[in-house]
């Protein structure tokens, strides 16, 4: 799947890095490692992670608390750049990208959903949905129609002028998911999206994810729930920073 140029030894080293993903692949992680320095010693949080994600997959990451699930999600989400190894996203070697290009890639293709929703308290539902668009050089009129469209799709038109603290937890997470998909990302990353919700509310979110996935969006979620993991097509187990049985 990788192309190795051999004609010119001087290009050889670089050429190895220009490897791209095979068609139909969205993500390739090679030997990803992450560690924190504590004085003179080093604690590894992720060890030799190798993971390929196909375009359109729905993956659940599971494992005990402290296993490194969130850390891995943030690396895939390109919030974190302090790691070693190779990370390919579509045709781009993320590990080689300048911060600016990495940010562009992240902006263009990735949406994020958090366990505690992380809506901005002092903004209305409408304004919260508008934030990601405002960072993507989209004209105001177009943004308006996009926000209205999403409000419609998620059936929250009536809530658009409310503030987050006027909504139930499930409604807040609904808005957060809406916010994650509004810029039509290829990939949605969700870190324990139902952790703070009742099971009925959690189910609603999972149904939503399934619909999005059926529409072609790749989803990687962190979850503790076997039921939720069942919505996905594959489970990745993490223990103490290691991937087990993948």
């Amino acid at each position: 799947m990788a192309f190795f140029g051999k004609s010119n030894p001087a290009v050889n080293v670089d050429a190895a890095d220009t490897a791209t993903l095979a068609p139909g692949m969205l993500i390739g992680l090679r030997n990803i490692e992450k560690s924190y320095a504590h004085g003179t010693s080093r604690t590894y949080v992720l060890r030799r992670i190798n993971l390929d994600v196909k375009d359109g997959e729905f993956i659940s990451i599971m494992g005990p608390s402290g296993a490194g699930k969130s850390t891995l999600l943030h690396i895939i989400g390109m919030h974190d750049s302090a790691w070693t190894g190779e990370y390919y996203f579509l045709d781009q070697p993320v590990h080689k990208l300048a911060p600016k290009d990495r940010a562009r890639l992240h902006k263009q293709h990735i949406g994020f959903v958090f366990q505690s929703y992380h809506l901005l308290d002092h903004l209305t539902v409408y304004e919260n949905l508008d934030i990601p668009l405002s960072y993507r050089d989209i004209k105001k009129a177009e943004r308006e129609s996009m926000v209205c469209d999403v409000l419609d799709r998620f059936a929250i038109v009536g809530k658009k002028d409310l503030y987050p603290n006027q909504l139930s937890g499930g409604q807040q997470q609904l808005v957060a998911v809406a916010r994650a998909v509004i810029s039509t990302p290829k990939l949605i990353l969700a870190d324990e999206p139902t952790g703070n919700l009742h099971s009925s509310q959690g189910k609603e979110i999972m149904e939503l994810f399934r619909k999005l996935n059926e529409g072609g969006t790749t989803i990687i979620q962190v979850t503790h729930s076997e039921v939720n993991a069942g919505y996905g097509s594959r489970i990745v187990q993490l223990r103490d920073g290691w991937m087990v049985n993948e």
Partner: protein, 800 residues
């Protein structure tokens, strides 16, 4: 008991956050120190009594010529001294004084010093005793009395080595022998020539004194129990009697007593009040900063306070504890502020313009210390009360529930932001004021005074009247001086003039040929006249408008007048060929030319006076300025000029050698001083306001860390975050700017009297200072914004 406990708590809690304590104390000390320093000037100049015995009874007494269109404070002559002194139910005593250019013979070069020539009552009026010997008696002050002189302490130590045996010795002054009869003590303060080094009696003729000369200034001591108003009434009656007795000279002449203190320092009042207001602004800003620090601290301690309240502490108890803390801060700030004031006072004295009245008396005395203490107390209460009230609000339960997670009520944030807006507005008011004064200073320095001051140096030469008794002698001296001066290497042209710009002036009355002469002095025509050499106009580059200049040595009495005189007395007519005379027994002078007006009194003076120039060979005045136009650095010619004068007569010194540009700079040094101080305070205010804005912005960034993390996770790039933080700061700055512009325009109106060549709403000044404010606001938010950009979304979001 609880007070002592509060105090102990306060000190301990401040010790626990030393950076906060240090910043607060230092900020406050700057504010209090600057205020105390300026107050010490105000105190010395306006509040402290003058250093004379019973100074409240001392008045300057002037001729009031307003009824005839003249000044309210015209100088006096011999007749006024005698007539007014005789009014013993008003004055206990009265003396007249005029300046004295004294050349002290001996040494390498004769030394020129300033002194006062007084009537014998001078020291008695002031209640001043000599340190050595005696002062004047009546017998010293009659025509032809033997010459006696009294020395200042400074001259005595410098020139006579502080030798007590000088009393009784003679010394040659202006070519005449004087017996030294006394030495004044160190602190003695002359009334007219503040740096006078010696005194001698005027020896005026008491019989038939001249009624129209105005050569003196007169100082009187009111009789005990006579109020200023009572004195005015009685002096008005005296003026009426004198008008009846001498209608030809005394018609429409009033008598105007002015308290000596008011006279000496009254002119400084507006500038001093402006300065005091400026530093008051600085202090307010300092207080706002500290209030903000305390608010932030109170927010951080909201949980501690909530726990205390839950344990039963009443609201008053909490307020009193927080207030004690701010009072401890205030006390420390006040103490350090007093030290800063001491330092500030010596800095002020070092940069104050020479001749600033009473500047040598400025110091930190008990009044200044009391002022600083009062400020500290007041500011401690004010900046402490707001946060204390805020922190002790009644709903403390939420703070407990939140687990003290650095969450503040938004009210605190809003209050802090409001305070910052006020700070920025005040800073802008100061900046604009400083800017206006600086522009005034620049405009004054650049003002066209009607001549070219570049490469001109001048000095005053007084051939002693005792030696050069008549016109031919003086003429010979001036001729010799002029030709030698012209020969100094580097001199392009040398000229003489009895009056030069910014160097004093003299007027006289005149008649116009063919018009009825005035019969009363009140109706006399007045002209400011100068006696000049033919090339004075070329030397000073004063342009000729009509006719011609003097031909050298022309025998016919001719005259050059200025444009104002031509317009005033020959409106619509040709003044050339007209004749006037200054003396009813003297010759008629023909007007041969008209030159452009010169602003002799500087840019701020009345521009248009009636002026006439006559050739020096027709009337060699006693005393003349020698003016050199140079091809080289004019300052380098001061020394050769002194040498040349010595060559002509070893007993004559040159007084006040100075470049024309130097004189112009000296004439506007007050404005420079004001502008520098206000600008310095404005700078201080701006730094403090910027610190405040920085604090609020940093705090906001810290509070919004998770919000910024979310935004980054949602795709915000660094510029978005940067704009978020800086935009917020600039929004505050813009509100401050708007409020400040309003304040600046209002303050400009107060400043109006001090301004020149710039309007109080000057768009350039307001524009530049606004831009500066915004720039500083940007810089103040830049660092927190950079910090916000570096926020790691992972860290920020890890709270769950």
């Amino acid at each position: 008991m609880s007070l002592l406990q509060d105090l102990r708590f306060a000190v301990r809690s401040l010790m626990k956050s030393p950076v906060f304590g240090a910043v607060a104390v230092f900020t406050l000390a700057l504010g209090i120190g600057a205020n105390a320093a300026i107050f010490s000037v105000l105190n010395a100049v306006l509040i402290k009594p003058l250093p004379y015995a019973d100074p409240g009874r001392l008045v300057m007494v002037w001729q009031d010529l307003r009824a005839r269109g003249g000044p309210a404070t015209e100088w006096t002559g011999p007749s006024q001294q005698f007539d007014w002194k005789a009014e013993t139910d008003v004055f206990e005593n009265l003396a007249s004084v005029r300046g004295w250019n004294a050349s002290l013979a001996g040494g390498d070069l004769p030394e020129s010093v300033l002194g006062e020539q007084t009537t014998y009552e001078y020291f008695d009026v002031l209640g001043a005793q000599p340190a050595l010997g005696r002062t004047f008696r009546g017998a010293d002050d009659v025509p032809n009395a033997p010459r006696v002189a009294v020395l200042s302490h400074a001259l005595w130590t410098r020139r006579f080595g502080g030798d007590p045996s000088v009393v009784g010795r003679t010394t040659v002054i202006n070519g005449e022998s004087h017996e030294i009869i006394g030495v004044m003590p160190e602190g003695f303060r002359p009334v007219v020539v503040t740096n006078a080094a010696l005194w001698r009696p005027q020896r005026m003729r008491p019989v038939n004194p001249s009624r129209n000369t105005a050569v003196n200034r007169t100082v009187g001591r009111l009789r005990r129990g006579v109020s200023l108003d009572a004195a005015r009434v009685r002096l008005a009656a005296l003026a009426a009697r004198l008008e009846q007795a001498h209608p030809e000279s005394d018609t429409k002449k009033g008598i105007n007593p002015v308290p000596l203190q008011e006279q000496q320092v009254g002119a400084m009042k507006p500038a001093l009040f402006v300065l005091q207001a400026a530093v008051a602004f600085v202090l307010v800003i300092a207080c706002v900063n500290i209030a903000n620090l305390l608010l932030a601290r109170a927010s951080a301690r909201i949980r501690e306070i909530a726990i205390r309240r839950a344990l039963g502490a009443g609201r008053r108890r909490i307020v009193s504890q927080l207030l004690t803390e701010s009072l401890v801060l205030a006390a420390a700030g006040g103490g350090l502020g007093a030290l800063i004031a001491v330092w500030g006072v010596s800095a002020l004295k070092a940069v104050a313009p020479e001749g600033t009245p009473r500047i040598e008396e400025v110091g930190v005395d008990w009044r200044v210390l009391a002022f600083a203490a009062a400020l500290a107390l007041a500011t401690g209460v004010i900046f402490g009360l707001v946060p204390a009230m805020h922190a002790s609000r009644d709903e403390f339960a939420p703070a407990l529930k939140q687990g003290g997670r650095g969450q503040t009520g938004d009210g605190g944030g809003r209050l802090r932001r409001g305070l910052i807006v006020a700070e920025l507005a005040l800073a802008l008011v100061l900046l604009a004021g400083g800017g206006l004064l600086l522009r005034t200073f620049l405009a004054l320095g650049r003002a066209d005074l009607g001549f070219n001051p570049d490469h001109v140096v001048a000095g005053f030469v007084l051939p002693p009247p005792a030696v050069y008794k008549d016109n031919p002698h003086r003429l010979a001296f001036y001729d010799a001086l002029l030709s030698r001066a012209a020969a100094i290497p580097g001199v392009a042209s040398a000229a003489l003039s009895s009056v030069i710009p910014l160097g004093g002036d003299s007027d006289t009355s005149f008649d116009i040929e063919g018009r009825p002469p005035a019969t009363r002095s009140a109706d006399a025509l007045i002209v400011w006249y100068r006696v000049v050499s033919a090339n004075y106009f070329a030397t000073m580059e004063i342009p000729l408008r009509r006719g011609r200049l003097f031909a050298d040595r022309e025998a016919d009495p001719s005259l050059v007048i200025n444009e104002t005189m031509a317009k005033r007395h020959w409106p619509g007519e040709d003044p050339l060929g007209r004749r006037i005379r200054f003396d009813r027994d003297g010759p008629w002078f023909s007007i041969v030319g008209v030159v452009a007006d010169v602003q002799v009194r500087g840019a701020r003076g009345d521009a248009h006076e009636v002026e006439a120039y006559m050739p020096y060979w027709h009337n060699p005045e006693p005393g003349v300025n020698i003016v050199l136009k140079t091809a080289i650095d004019p300052a380098a010619l001061a020394e050769p000029l002194r040498r040349v004068v010595k060559e002509v007569d070893p007993g004559v010194a040159v007084a006040g050698v100075s470049t024309m540009n130097g004189m112009i700079a000296d004439s506007i040094v007050d404005t420079r001083f004001q502008a520098t101080l206000v600008a310095a305070f404005a700078g201080l205010a701006l730094v403090l306001a910027a610190t405040g804005l920085y604090g609020v912005t940093s705090y906001a960034v810290a509070q919004r860390t998770s919000e910024i993390g979310i935004r980054l996770a949602l795709g915000a790039a660094e510029p978005h975050v940067f704009r978020l933080v800086v935009g917020d700061a600039l929004r505050l700055a813009t509100i401050g700017l708007m409020a400040g512009l309003g304040g600046a325009i209002a303050a400009g109106r107060v400043l109006e009297k001090l301004l020149f060549g710039v309007t109080e709403t000057d768009p350039l000044t307001l524009g530049l200072t606004s831009a500066l404010l915004m720039l500083v606001a940007f810089l103040a938010s830049y660092v927190p914004a950079r910090r916000a950009m570096r926020i790691d979304p992972m860290e920020a979001l890890r709270i769950e």
